[in-house]
């Protein structure tokens, strides 16, 4: 399939007429095979944007084309080829890791389910935990399970909300390595929202800096650092966040 992974045009969300828009006039095109970052402080509109991209939230204005499908009219066709992971949305704790993955393999109509789960368990170092209840795992193990769930259907577009939040540096580094490897192998596009600037600098070819629901700047991390005359992306983030 040709064409960009994601086309977002004039996207806006206003939850109430008397409140400022949570997202306003957001426009970008995410190419296939690229990892882009969505950066911004708390309340900048990252979660709202991701929710709209996933069809969980109806935009007030604008259009989203995910993998060529208009999310307003044909979101289920797109959702079957996408996936999502967030540490803030749990998988059922009482079910074993294997059962959780089987549930989502059915929901995503994954062919050769058992083989795929075995492959992912191997890749994510989960084989020894497969029959353990998901609720008994450590934070790092849960993140790996969530990532395995997100990769079950070999998504062409992967949306990640803070994929390494609350992980120790070693596990976070391991997760980043897996994401890089998946993108390289599959040619999938990845859009990630993160507060971890080192992570964004490592993974993302391009970042969108959000503030009060608007894109206030964008570019490759190195270009942004150079343009703002700062030492790293974190300093750029702070400069943007603290600007009036």
């Amino acid at each position: 399939m040709n064409g960009p992974a994601l086309v977002v045009e004039g996207l806006a969300k206003r939850f109430a007429p008397d409140r400022p828009p949570a997202v306003e006039d957001l426009t970008f095109t995410l190419p296939r095979g690229a990892t882009w970052g969505l950066l911004g402080g708390n309340g900048a509109g990252k979660t709202t944007t991701i929710a709209m991209l996933l069809g969980l939230l109806v935009p007030s204005a604008g259009r989203i084309l995910a993998l060529g499908h208009d999310m307003a009219k044909d979101r289920f066709a797109a959702l079957a080829r996408m996936n999502f992971s967030s540490p803030y949305i749990a998988l059922p704790h009482r079910l074993s890791v294997r059962e959780n993955l089987e549930v989502y393999a059915h929901l995503y109509n994954v062919p050769r389910m058992r083989r795929r789960i075995a492959e992912l368990a191997e890749e994510m170092a989960l084989t020894e935990f497969l029959d353990r209840p998901a609720g008994e795992l450590s934070a790092g193990q849960k993140t790996r399970v969530a990532l395995a769930k997100a990769l079950l259907n070999r998504p062409e577009l992967l949306l990640l909300d803070e994929p390494t939040a609350s992980l120790d540096p070693d596990t976070a580094d391991w997760v980043r390595g897996r994401l890089e490897a998946y993108r390289a192998e599959s040619g999938a596009a990845i859009l990630l929202a993160s507060h971890n600037m080192a992570e964004v600098e490592r993974l993302c070819a391009h970042v969108l800096m959000l503030k009060r629901g608007r894109v206030v700047d964008q570019g490759a991390p190195a270009d942004l650092v150079r343009r703002y005359g700062r030492a790293d992306l974190e300093q750029v983030f702070l400069a943007i966040a603290r600007a009036a």
């Binding site: 939850f15 109806v58 289920f76 959702l79 999502f84 009482r94 549930v103 989502y104 929901l107 109509n109």
Partner: protein, 266 residues
């Protein structure tokens, strides 16, 4: 079609796996129907012992009512509580961003409701036969029709409850346990519709359950199948399911606009 069935199975499998790992949940399914059966069984044993003939038949009608009304209650709760399980486990976000369509979600919840109802009501039926020699199967094949009509009514009410949960969040979850109990007086489980005040009778006759229980009394007391009440029950089921299905879809879309799917458990 096959992919759709597989998604529905995925949802059913998720709940079956939960029950397999949580024996208290299975016990809870059977607890209330059995408790109801035991209490009403003693009441009917007392009635049957106190009088002859009519009292004995009335006792059978009471037990039949208890068992069939439990089917409606369990059906509604089975649907609503299966939906609440997704909220309690904070899994709803994953479900709603998967390719599972709202109609498939409803089908999966309805299938779980049927399984939960069977697990809850069958032991109570067996107990009624063992302890009180009440054989509900003696009603014949029409029992299946009564059961199906009450199951469908339970789904219709559950769709309404689920719509309220989508509208008001987990704060509306108490409705999952209470709402059908509130309809008991109008369902005419233990007495004929004619007992109600004249102005209330049309209200009762808008409920499929009132027709089912009129039909049940005809079957138990007169040994006949009342096709009119049975047909009315199914037509009303279809109307209520359509209305509550539309309400559910409307609230689902409204929740997508408000953004309440993001924090429905709070």
């Amino acid at each position: 079609m096959r992919a759709s069935l597989r998604r529905i199975w995925g949802l059913i499998f998720r709940h079956l796996a939960l029950y397999r790992r949580s024996p208290p949940r299975v016990v809870e399914l059977m607890y209330w129907p059995i408790l109801q059966m035991v209490v009403w069984g003693f009441v009917t044993a007392y009635l049957a012992g106190a009088g002859q003939g009519v009292a004995s038949v009335a006792a059978g009608v009471l037990l039949g009512g208890v068992l069939l009304w439990e089917a409606a209650l369990r059906s509604q709760m089975g649907f609503s509580i299966s939906f609440l399980e997704e909220i309690w486990s904070r899994n709803l976000g994953h479900i709603f961003v998967s390719p599972l369509r709202p109609a498939e979600l409803v089908a999966g919840l309805a299938a779980m409701s049927m399984l939960r109802t069977l697990i809850g009501v069958l032991p109570a039926m067996l107990l009624a036969w063992l302890l009180y020699a009440f054989d509900i199967l003696a009603m014949g094949p029409v029992l299946v029709a009564f059961f199906a009509a009450l199951l469908a009514m339970g789904w219709a009410v559950a769709l309404g409850v689920t719509a309220m949960i989508l509208r008001w969040g987990a704060g509306a979850e108490a409705l999952a346990w209470s709402v059908l109990f509130g309809l008991t007086p109008f369902a005419c489980v233990f007495y004929p519709v004619a007992v109600l005040p004249a102005w209330l009778q049309p209200v009762a006759l808008m409920l499929p359950a009132a027709h089912v229980f009129e039909g049940m009394r005809a079957a138990l007391l007169e040994g006949r199948v009342d096709g009119g009440h049975l047909a009315a029950a199914f037509v009303l089921d279809a109307l209520w399911l359509a209305a509550m299905g539309a309400l559910f879809l409307r609230q689902f879309e409204a929740a997508r606009i408000r953004g309440s799917l993001l924090n429905i458990g709070e």
